[in-house]
């Protein structure tokens, strides 16, 4: 609802000189991102005897690689879902909190970003081990009979990765929620809407842009994470990103590495663009 309004104020965005402000960013991204990316894409399509699709055909025809694709997407989906379920309410709390509490919350969300994934993954290693906090808690609550290890399991990986990516879910949603006038829900209530109805028909559609960017951030980061799985689940669980890393760093097989990178990129872009489109459609229809 808000998005089209921007377009109508600038009838021909290309003639607006403001567009020039993007120039430094565009040049920077072209040189250090688009060009190498293109070079990478080309590597996987060019064989010793000219253009080829052979790397893709041999990749697709190996059932193990489909398992790797499955691993990658499944873990990314769980991480995104988990981040959404705990990040969405947190974003509301953050947006509606008083000034001081809000500052404390923002700092505690943003500051951990400066620690880096390696340190956090090491910390999770301690939390998730057999005598770690999670295991002790679950045994104490009677959920588990015996202490168990979550480290080096898929659940452990999802828990750890969700922690690392959570700020990227909370912040975009928060930035949208704080713009929503709280009186809208009150207005809905005066008109007889139940809290659930006004959430589903007023609040949720309004926060959709935040959800879309949060999901896009978290999904694309978790689909391509490399250090976190290598520390939290190890070599026995391959994803497209770990296969790519190994092809370049160990096997020096640039073609295989480029192939898996292109497949990863295609899947990630397709899913992010697809879900954005779907979300906008759903949002528009309400």
């Amino acid at each position: 609802m808000t998005a089209p309004a921007v377009h109508t104020t600038a009838p021909s965005p290309w003639r607006d000189p403001v567009i020039l402000l993007a120039l430094p960013a565009v040049i920077y991204l072209l040189v250090v991102y688009a060009y190498p990316l293109l070079w990478l894409l080309m590597k996987s399509f060019i064989g010793p005897a000219g253009p080829t699709l052979q790397p893709y055909i041999s990749f697709m025809s190996d059932p193990f690689n489909w398992r790797v694709v499955g691993n990658t997407l499944r873990v990314a989906a769980w991480v995104t879902l988990f981040c959404f379920l705990i990040g969405y309410p947190a974003a509301f709390a953050l947006a509606r909190a008083g000034a001081l509490v809000q500052i404390v919350m923002l700092v505690s969300i943003i500051l951990p970003l400066s620690i880096g994934a390696v340190v956090k993954a090491f910390a999770w290693q301690i939390v998730l081990r057999r005598d770690g906090v999670v295991s002790q808690l679950l045994v104490g609550l009677g959920v588990w009979d015996d202490p168990q290890r979550l480290l080096f399991t898929e659940t452990g990986l999802v828990l750890g990765a969700a922690n690392i990516f959570l700020p990227f879910m909370i912040l975009p949603i928060y930035s949208v929620v704080k713009l929503i006038d709280p009186r809208l829900s009150e207005a809905g209530a005066t008109l007889g809407a139940t809290p659930f109805y006004s959430f589903a028909h007023v609040t949720l559609p309004l926060t959709l842009p935040g959800i879309v960017s949060g999901v896009a951030f978290v999904f694309s980061m978790s689909v391509s994470m490399f250090v976190i799985p290598s520390l939290l689940i190890g070599d026995r669980f391959q994803t497209l990103a770990t296969l790519t890393g190994r092809s370049f760093l160990l096997m020096r097989n640039e073609q295989l590495g480029s192939t898996t990178a292109v497949i990863l990129l295609t899947l990630a872009v397709a899913i992010v663009v697809g879900s954005t489109w779907l979300a906008r459609r759903l949002g528009g229809s309400t």
Partner: protein, 350 residues
């Protein structure tokens, strides 16, 4: 007017800058004409022992300057490939698996006893491919364990398969060089063949190796993580572990020790070679010769918790003296590793 001034000013500046640059660039050349330089490429982790032990001995003997460039084995290989017509490295210190492509691309110069007299003092099995490179150290692979949770040291490589260690065993990935030892030992345990023969029977190796899966805590690619788990007591054993690393941790007070199993230990490849077409070839050979000398070998072995390759050098205290040391056929590894890693991915997966 202004324009002209600007131009002449700029030109003058450029001239001055160029002059200064020439002088700066020329200075080291004048210096190096006085003291000869020999550039050695190696791994970043070699830096401390090269600069503290090897370089001073070489510099003293030949009155030259040793410049050490520490990166990674593969980077050294690339440096040699890119400078094929104008090499600047005289000596390279790389892992044996990387020596093989270097040999096949004709980047290395053969070591001979005429150029490197100390070559004659090396242990059997440490000179490779007819002298294309030799080993200057043998860090060895055994089983690292945590004495707090395992008061009795492991005595056999077969112990890691014992069901009582469910979820307690840490293995290196097959992409880590130290990971290959498990594959070869599994073949030996399964077939009973001598190691030289067993290490070719990779099919038997995998059939044995998959039986360890219930015991696995993890398969690591990042070594510090493996030691972290071991020291915390979450893992009981790292099979196989590099002596240098395990004993370093032990020396710093961590609950880590390394055992020499009865089937023997593996030597890790630490190779040194001369670069073909290198500058200062006689100094390069001199560097290798000094590195292999009894004095330097004794000091190197002690500093790195490894075995010396010079048979007259002192074996540091705490090192195995009469263990069987298995050597690895690196050419066979180089030819097949890609396939092994593929199979490992499939069969060892969670």
């Amino acid at each position: 007017m202004t324009k002209i001034t600007t131009v002449s000013f700029t030109r003058r500046t450029i001239m001055a800058a160029a002059g200064a640059a020439t002088a700066t660039l020329a200075a080291p050349r004048i210096l190096s004409a006085q003291t000869k330089e020999v550039v050695v490429g190696g791994a970043a982790s070699h830096k401390s022992f090269v600069e503290q032990i090897v370089a001073p001995a070489v510099e003293k003997k030949f009155g030259c300057k040793v410049v050490f460039e520490g990166s990674r084995s593969l980077v050294n290989l690339e440096k040699m490939q890119k400078n094929k017509d104008k090499q600047y490295l005289s000596v390279v210190m790389m892992d044996d698996p990387v020596m093989i492509p270097a040999v096949s691309e004709g980047l290395l110069e053969k070591l001979t006893p005429e150029k490197v007299p100390n070559l004659k003092l090396l242990k059997a099995g440490t000179i490779h491919m007819d002298g294309m490179w030799c080993n200057y150290l043998q860090p060895w692979l055994g089983i690292a364990y945590n004495p707090k949770v395992m008061p009795a040291a492991p005595t056999s490589w077969a112990q890691i398969y014992d069901p009582k260690y469910k979820g307690r065993i840490i293995l290196p990935s097959l992409q880590n060089t130290e990971g290959l030892a498990n594959l070869f030992m599994a073949a030996h345990l399964a077939t009973g063949k001598p190691m030289a023969e067993a290490q070719k029977d990779i099919d038997a190796a995998f059939k044995k190796l998959v039986t360890i899966k219930p015991n696995l805590l993890t398969v690591y690619t990042q070594m510090p993580q493996a030691y972290n788990l071991l020291e915390q007591g979450e893992g009981f054993m790292i099979s196989s572990a590099i002596s240098q690393v395990a004993l370093d941790r032990k020396a710093s007070g961590a609950p880590v020790d390394i055992a020499v199993p009865k089937e023997g230990i593996f030597s890790m490849p630490s190779g040194v070679a001369l670069v073909k077409g290198a500058p200062q070839p006689e100094l390069g050979a001199g560097y290798v010769d000094v590195m292999l000398s009894v004095e330097v070998q004794s000091a190197l072995a002690a500093k790195t918790n490894s075995l010396p390759t010079n048979k007259d050098a002192a074996i540091p205290p705490g090192m195995p003296t009469n263990a069987t040391i298995h050597t690895v056929d690196w050419a066979f590894v180089a030819a097949n590793r890609g396939e092994w890693v593929k199979r490992w991915d499939r069969e060892m997966a969670l």
